[in-house]
Symmetry: C2
Subunit: 342 residues, 2 copies
């Protein structure tokens, strides 16, 4: 009997979220503008402001390995990943609560630099740790951060606002973090120097807070998400929540540097990396079809960070496709990183 | 060299919190009315309202054992423990974010009843899950809940308001949860029926939300905390934060039922249980010395739950003592439960 019982791993992360949503009641609270299912929850504070709330649990050997990232970097990274969810709403981070599960043998000095990393990442945005909780764990380090942000009432961006013929944009390049992950896996910390930036993309992702705020402030953006699971999966989230399809132009998706070498080292095609690689924490957003693109170019120049048009929103019945260099139309599998399935 | 390096277990939970406070900067944000160091953080929303924010991480085999508590009970309990922190401020719970670290082999049906338990505990207070995050873990279940509550701006209670000659009160009895823990440890789920209530105190603690709100609403209370670490430790938190001492009247501290038998079974004196037993989640509070006690009696009657006067606040130089039945004055050790030291 028992061996036939379904395990959580049989349904994966999204299957579990689905089940949670079925168990939880419909929220009857007019101040809850957005519950489970977006980058952050959204609570109305007053006529002008909303509060954004998100949490992210990260577990040793699932999300990070202590022999590949310093405690300081880990502290920054854990915080950055949460900040990125606030960025994806076009919000401003304000407060953090930190829960840590720590093995008793964890060095005290590492604990202190971990906290230092969190602090310095928050400092960049004048945000503060206002609470937390500690526990021992038997073996593995667990970091769970809740981040509270704020946005203007009529200016936060969700996953559900994309409309047919909207234009799709992405900030930065795609696949850098995953390439960095593979490089660390292959070389450890003795990776060739030329790959420094790729490794740093993995170890120290930059939450695109200012970009997110500026994109939201244009008033032309219709949906936004941060790329945590990978382009194919995260754009699919927008499509699902907006009730639309999409097509991506293969030739326009920004490729990481050293992509040929990375293909050889990792055995993954760079198309795979572009579409399915996780944890870049770049922003993916849609603009109204008649939007003034100069505003976006200005933001890109101001922050010295690429913003690239990579596709357009289609109808749901048109589906979800990649348009290749040869104008072939290939269905995109919306698979990304699943912390239960991989 | 490495064996001499300090570990987190060398300084314990409070030592770590102390180090965190040294690393984090002074908060320069006039809306943060209270940061780390109380039951919840307190953020000003507007002239009338404050928001209360707290999180609590609970780890399998540290805080609970899956062979002694059902997934449904565990879900309720994990939520109750967080709700209790809102109760300790005199607040009303509103929203929860749930982070779960789950072993891949965890049964799906247990996952669902765990969530169901959380839901039903929140339902009692019309509070809602608005977000969360899931991860795999290698072995142990990890539950981290962030709870958001609300209170009137001038009516929330902290740990720092107790003044010399204030009267000290506690709700319910002390030591029941720990007695239940020892009973489960000794008998497993086959414990004698007469101990049912003690075991339930451990498995299903009741967050004293309404009591907390009513106590705060009297306007006579000066400080409040929930008893999570144990009376001696939690009253010491109030003393430390308020800059005062205290004396407790041994004869007045409410004793659990079956206390003689529990002494025999556990090998712990019931005085030890009263003073140092954790996780009762009852409320400990202080009243102004000239407070109208009838108001408190009324609350006790209305909610059919004991509220007992157990001591008085002293000056800091008078210290922290237990007054025995023979009028002896014994210093109280402010020790409680430390998830790193025990």
């Amino acid at each position: 009997m028992h061996s036939l019982e379904m395990k959580v791993s049989d349904v994966g992360e999204f299957g579990l979220i689905n089940r949670i949503q079925k168990i939880l009641p419909t929220i009857r609270d007019e101040n809850v503008l957005l519950g489970i299912g977006d980058d952050t929850a959204v609570i109305k504070i007053d006529e002008n402001r909303v509060q954004l709330l998100t949490c992210d649990i990260q577990v040793e050997d699932q999300h990070f390995q202590l022999d590949q990232i310093s405690p300081y970097q880990l502290g920054r990274r854990a915080m950055a990943v949460n900040l990125s969810d606030i960025a994806a709403m076009g919000g401003t981070p304000r407060y953090a609560l930190i829960s840590l599960g720590i093995p008793p043998s964890f060095p005290l000095s590492d604990f202190e630099t971990l906290i230092q990393g969190m602090r310095e990442q928050l400092d960049e945005f004048s945000a503060h740790v206002i609470g937390g909780n500690l526990s021992g764990t038997s073996e593995k380090l667990v970091i769970d951060i809740t981040l509270i942000g704020e946005a203007r009432h009529n200016r936060f961006l969700t996953r559900s606002g994309a409309r047919v013929r909207d234009r799709i944009f992405v900030t930065g390049t795609l696949g850098a973090s995953r390439a960095g992950y593979y490089l660390l896996k292959k070389f450890g910390l003795q990776y060739p120097e030329k790959f420094e930036q790729l490794v740093q993309s993995h170890l120290q992702p930059i939450p695109r807070i200012e970009l997110g705020r500026q994109i939201a402030a244009t008033g032309m953006a219709t949906a936004m998400i941060d790329i945590s699971d990978g382009l194919a999966s995260d754009l699919n989230h927008i499509c699902q929540m907006s009730g639309v399809g999409a097509e991506l132009y293969q030739s326009q998706i920004p490729v990481i540097e050293h992509s040929i070498e990375i293909e050889k080292i990792t055995g993954k095609s760079f198309q795979d990396l572009m579409l399915h690689a996780s944890e870049d924490y770049e922003l993916l957003f849609t603009l109204k079809k008649d939007a003034n693109i100069n505003l976006i170019k200005k933001i890109s120049t101001q922050y010295n960070h690429a913003i690239t048009e990579i596709g357009r929103i289609a109808t749901k019945s048109e589906g979800y496709h990649l348009i290749t260099q040869n104008k072939e139309k290939i269905p995109i599998k919306p698979t990304g990183w699943d912390h239960f399935l991989q």
